[in-house]
Amino acid sequence: MIEALWGWPPPVFDPAGPYAESVTTLAWVLLGMGVAVTAIVVAALWVALRGPDALKRKLGGERTVWIGGVAFPGVVLTALLVWGLALTASLTADITGDEMRVRVTGEMWWFRVEYLDDDGNVLVADANELHLPVGEPVVLELQSADVIHSFWVPHLSGKKDMIPGRTTLLRVQADRPGRFGGVCAEYCGGPHALMGFVAIAHGQDDFRQWLAGKARRQAASAPGGGAGRRQFMDSGCAACHRVAGTPANGLAGPDLTHVGSRQTLGAGILPNNRGTLIGWIGDSQSIKPGNRMPSYDMLSAEELEDIAIWLEQQK
């Protein structure tokens, strides 16, 4: 299993960037309000049921309704609303257009990730992993290839839906390096439960180097060869998967050009190593039932290992 990206403290209360941080403050205040009001109601109920007669008489009239049901909530809710509206406005402040852009497309049941250059061309194609520079806002162009999905990395920001026929924009920013779990939050059928990804924030220089390296790799030929590569091409993998610099140019499934450097397999559900690669190729249907990749159980253990070895080299 992949290393814990969630767990304690709850990510909603453990913000890693400005777009999550203000919501965390809001969440604490709302929780405090909730606890306080519950306490007030419990106290009022106690007085009503068991309290001394003098207090009961004070509580037992229409004045209680006006105060407790109209005035008090009116004031609290108005204050909250004003704050909420201001916060909404600041979080959705107009996108300037100079931010780095990444197109993330929800597909049944994984995420296509494409880093765009200034002209909107795809610089690097990847999947199920989102790399970000620390301290810099990144605009995500969210799209869907099939049904409605929703993009959510609670450490970085609230969620936004990926809707067929539309492009929704979400701005995220990480203020500290780290790995943050993400999931699809909108029910999208079948193995929706197993549709995740990882966001990885690097230092800015680190990130530029990473991106440039990946871009160079896209333009070069694929490393490695031999039995694994042959097996990959012969087994029909290329019909759905692309590996830059090889004849494999399928677009239905995740781009495998950099699969060897990814941290997870199966859209954020398995750690990535030779063993899990073999397991996934040979038996993806038991690991993630209903996913679009058939189990290649007709391949021998040796053939599977060959493919896995070659894929490991694709970084």
């Binding site: 209680t64 609303l81 029910y187 039932p289």
Partner: protein
């Protein structure tokens, strides 16, 4: 008090009367209201029985959907379990939500209404007993068949919200989705039938003197409830029709490639879906308001504020639907508006809660099982309401939307707002239908198990949500800190189940259905349902002088039972009830009521078969069922609205009122108008869909047919409207007796023919302009609206011919006749609505 109808209020002083009543009146009432026995019980239409069947069926679905929930909790008790396979789990959660909302919650509150309202209002029965029977049987047959889809693995699996394109044919090719669309679409029809019954019942069959200001709070709640159903349900009916049309005929309402938009569904669904929550909550709040007063032994504090809160909730709830869509990237200004409205709707809820608390403080509580459930429900509901306020805050919602936080929120609201009040009501009103009271000792266990179980299940879910667990997941990965929390939730779920099981045990031991030897007023309520009753309801219908007549007039029970009030006998020897005026409840006329009949159940069963055979694509049987259902409805109507010999009746103390009237005073007029609101709302939502899609993808729109043709269509429809009016006018020209000529029905038929002609012209016009339904969202919407108009036209033709048949058999009485009234008004409405829709689609875009 100023008289509303010209009725002399001084006459009220005659009650209670003093002269002894003749012997044998009670026996006569018993004979008239007697029920068929054995298999004949299926033909029963009296609310005592239909209401009970209805409540029992709704409770059965509560148990079934609860079992589904337990299955899901077992699956989620530990990570990566394989108790329920993925497809089964997805069907389970879809069915759990769907069954709880559509087959349990709405029918349950409607059922409680049908069961309690006539007694609370001291009416002999609701005004359309056969319609209640139809609504119940349609729901019973349709609901069970729908649920059975689970056993053959064909249950819907797209979530109870059914978002396309996941539910479009491309991603859900099986008939599972069709089961949802047709099954639910049809159960909604049953809900609307019940709502019409309730609106007319509450407004027109209250006991004399029960002004709106003296109405039991539950009746107020049911009135608001029914009005909300009438306005909200058409939206989802239209939505399901559009999605089914897209699936069956490839009409692209939701397909962005051809100018559709998946978000249109979300608007249509949530315009219904959020009011739905209040549709469930308000009746339960009404029950709470009544029970609180009884257990605290003092009248409700803030009666008028509470009424205001009910009405305000109804209004505001129609302005909050898009808060389910905050994450769809809606414009900031809309998000702000919907956020504000969502905050605002919590004010009336707060008013009700503090009315209850103030009432408890004003009185002195007598502890009992209902009292426990009431106090528990207040606390749970408040907690759910507070998380509701939280998710009304847009940025917070972006985080917790579609996580287990929402699962926790909605279960707190629905359990606290509806399920706990329902259990309180079961104990409280049990005495009305059962020979024995339920056990107080077992009841306490039921309460504490459910109350504890609820918190153990749902309190941890707030945290599970904050930790990032999305909803609607059939499993989750280990090492995410979610294992323990989920296990705790599962334990809690079984604790709730233990409480429910104990309740069933209590029912098995103590519940014995009866209509006349009931356990009675165990908790000492002050409203009319606690008067002594039989199948005929109360012996005489009391004059209501206050909100809690039984508390204010200790003699009222005896006086009612001795026949010292209105209608101490059967004035006509038939089933009957007093129709009163809507505001002050002044007696207006005596309505003759239909008795047991096999036709409503026949019509209901075949309506269900019609929809089910459509689902499984057995089109021949669908046609057959549709025809049989229509014949059954016409046959049941055939017996009603007969010429009557007796024109007036003495309803007690020498007060004489007419029997059966037409026009705005008649109860049929009110029902038809309500139905028109339903039909009109479908058209309004259709118009909204049309404009919305034009706004999203105008590039696929083509020009409308030429203006000259539009004028011709309009002229034909205007002609149809005039003909519909003329038919009634012709009838009214004769003073009395049976109408001699053929004028009225021929004119009505001409009106229907004009509607059909206009429709033909309209449709071929669009075809000539080059529009086809599968081409674009415009084509799909235009032809969907024309198809809707075609349905109305078909009903219009059937009605006109039915009128002809009645006319031929000499049943068309002058100067006014309910059948004529209904047919004429329906045709007029169909033509007017067709005109509005045609003009809208042919002029925009210009």
């Amino acid at each position: 008090m100023k008289s509303e109808t010209g009725f002399d209020h001084d006459l009220y002083r005659l009650f209670p009367t003093h002269r002894p009543r003749p012997k044998g009146e009670v026996e006569e009432l018993e004979r008239i209201w007697d029920n068929p026995k054995g298999w004949g019980l299926l033909t029963v239409v009296n609310n005592n029985y239909v209401g009970f069947f209805y409540v029992a069926t709704a409770f059965l679905f509560f148990l079934l959907a609860g079992i589904l929930a337990l299955g899901m909790r077992v699956q989620l008790a530990a990570p990566l379990q394989e108790f329920l396979p993925q497809e089964t789990y997805n069907q389970f959660f879809t069915m759990h939500g769907t069954v709880m909302m559509f087959l349990f919650a709405v029918p349950m509150v409607e059922a409680i209404g049908i069961m309690l309202l006539p007694q609370m209002l001291a009416a002999r029965d609701l005004p359309f007993p056969r319609l209640s029977a139809y609504a119940f049987w349609a729901y019973f047959v349709g609901g069970l068949c729908f649920f059975a889809s689970l056993f053959v693995g064909l249950a819907p699996d797209g979530g109870w919200f059914m978002y396309p394109p996941l539910t479009s044919i491309a991603y859900s090719p099986g008939i599972n989705t069709d089961f949802w669309l047709l099954g639910i679409g049809f159960i909604e029809i049953s809900a609307i039938a019940g709502a019409i019954e309730i609106i007319v019942g509450v407004l027109r069959t209250r006991a004399p003197g029960m002004t709106l200001d003296r109405m039991p709070m539950f009746a107020w709640a049911m009135l608001v409830f029914a009005v909300m159903i009438v306005i909200a349900f058409p939206s989802v009916i239209l939505g399901t029709l559009l999605l089914e049309l897209e699936r069956a005929f490839n009409w692209p309402f939701f397909d962005p490639a051809r100018g559709g938009d998946p978000l249109l569904w979300q608007h249509l669904f949530w315009f219904f879906g959020h009011p739905e929550v209040y549709i469930i909550f308000l009746p339960a709040a009404g029950l709470m308001s009544m029970m609180v007063a009884t257990v605290a032994r003092t009248p409700l504090v803030g009666y008028r504020l509470n009424v205001l809160a009910l009405v305000a909730t109804g209004f505001i709830s129609f302005g909050v639907w898009a808060h389910h869509m905050f994450t769809t990237d809606m414009p900031r200004i809309s998000a702000g508006y919907f956020s504000a409205a969502s905050m605002a709707v919590s004010l009336p809820a707060g008013i009700q809660v503090f009315c209850w608390i103030a009432t408890l403080a004003a009185g002195r509580i007598r502890w009992s099982v209902p009292a426990l459930f009431i106090v528990g429900s207040v606390l749970i509901f408040v907690m759910g309401g507070l998380t509701g306020v939280m998710v009304g805050m847009v940025p917070f919602d972006w985080q917790v939307h579609d996580t287990y936080f929402i699962v926790a929120h909605l279960h707190y609201v629905l359990l606290g707002g509806m399920v706990f009040p329902m259990f309180a009501a079961f104990y409280y009103w049990n005495g009305m239908t059962s020979r024995n009271p339920l056990s107080e000792r077992l009841g306490r266990w039921v309460f504490w198990l459910m109350f504890t179980g609820l918190h153990v299940t749902f309190l941890p879910m707030h945290l599970t949500g904050f930790m990032g667990m999305p909803r609607r997941v059939y499993t989750y990965l280990p090492d995410r800190g979610l294992d323990l929390l989920n296990l705790v939730s599962t334990i809690g779920a079984f604790t709730i189940a233990a409480g429910v099981l104990l309740f069933l045990l209590d029912l098995a031991r103590n519940f014995r259905f009866t209509t006349d030897h009931d356990a009675g007023n165990v908790y000492g309520g002050g409203t009319l349902e606690w008067l002594p009753t039989g199948m005929y309801s109360t012996r005489s219908i009391p004059l209501v002088r206050s909100r809690e007549p039984l508390w204010d007039d200790p003699a009222i029970c005896d006086d009612v039972a001795e026949g010292r009030y209105f209608l101490p006998n059967s004035a006509t020897g038939l089933r009957e009830t007093i129709i009163t005026s809507p505001v002050n409840a002044e007696p207006q006329y005596l309505q003759l009521m239909p008795g047991p009949s096999p036709w409503p159940i026949g019509a209901a069963a075949f309506t269900a078969f019609f929809f089910l055979s459509l689902t499984v694509q057995a089109y021949a049987f669908a046609w057959f069922s549709g025809v049989v259902a229509t014949v059954c409805v016409l046959r049941w109507l055939w017996e009603t609205d007969r010429p009557i010999a007796q024109k007036e009746a003495d309803i007690g103390a020498g007060i004489v009122v007419p029997i059966s009237v037409t026009g705005p005073r008649g109860h049929g007029w009110w029902a038809l108008n309500t139905l028109m609101v339903v039909m009109g709302m479908i058209a309004v939502m259709g118009g909204f869909s049309y404009l919305y899609l034009y706004g999203i993808h105008p590039e696929v729109w083509i020009d409308a047919p030429p203006l000259g043709q539009t004028a011709l269509v309009a002229a034909l429809l205007a002609g149809a409207m005039i003909a519909a009016r003329l038919a009634r006018y012709l009838l009214s020209r004769h003073e009395a007796g049976v109408f001699p000529g053929q004028g009225p029905w021929l004119t009505a038929t001409a009106s229907a023919a004009l509607i059909v002609g206009a429709l033909y012209l309209d449709m071929t016009g669009w075809q000539a302009a080059g529009l086809a339904p599968a081409d674009s969202a415009q084509g799909a919407t235009v032809f969907a609206m024309l198809a809707y108009q075609a349905c109305l036209a078909a009903v219009g033709v059937i009605m006109a011919l039915y009128l002809g048949l009645r006319s031929g058999r000499g049943l068309l009485t002058t100067p006014a006749n309910v059948t004529m009234d209904v047919v004429g008004r329906f045709l007029f409405f169909a033509a007017a609505q067709g005109l509005a829709l045609s003009l809208l689609m042919r002029t925009i875009p210009g």
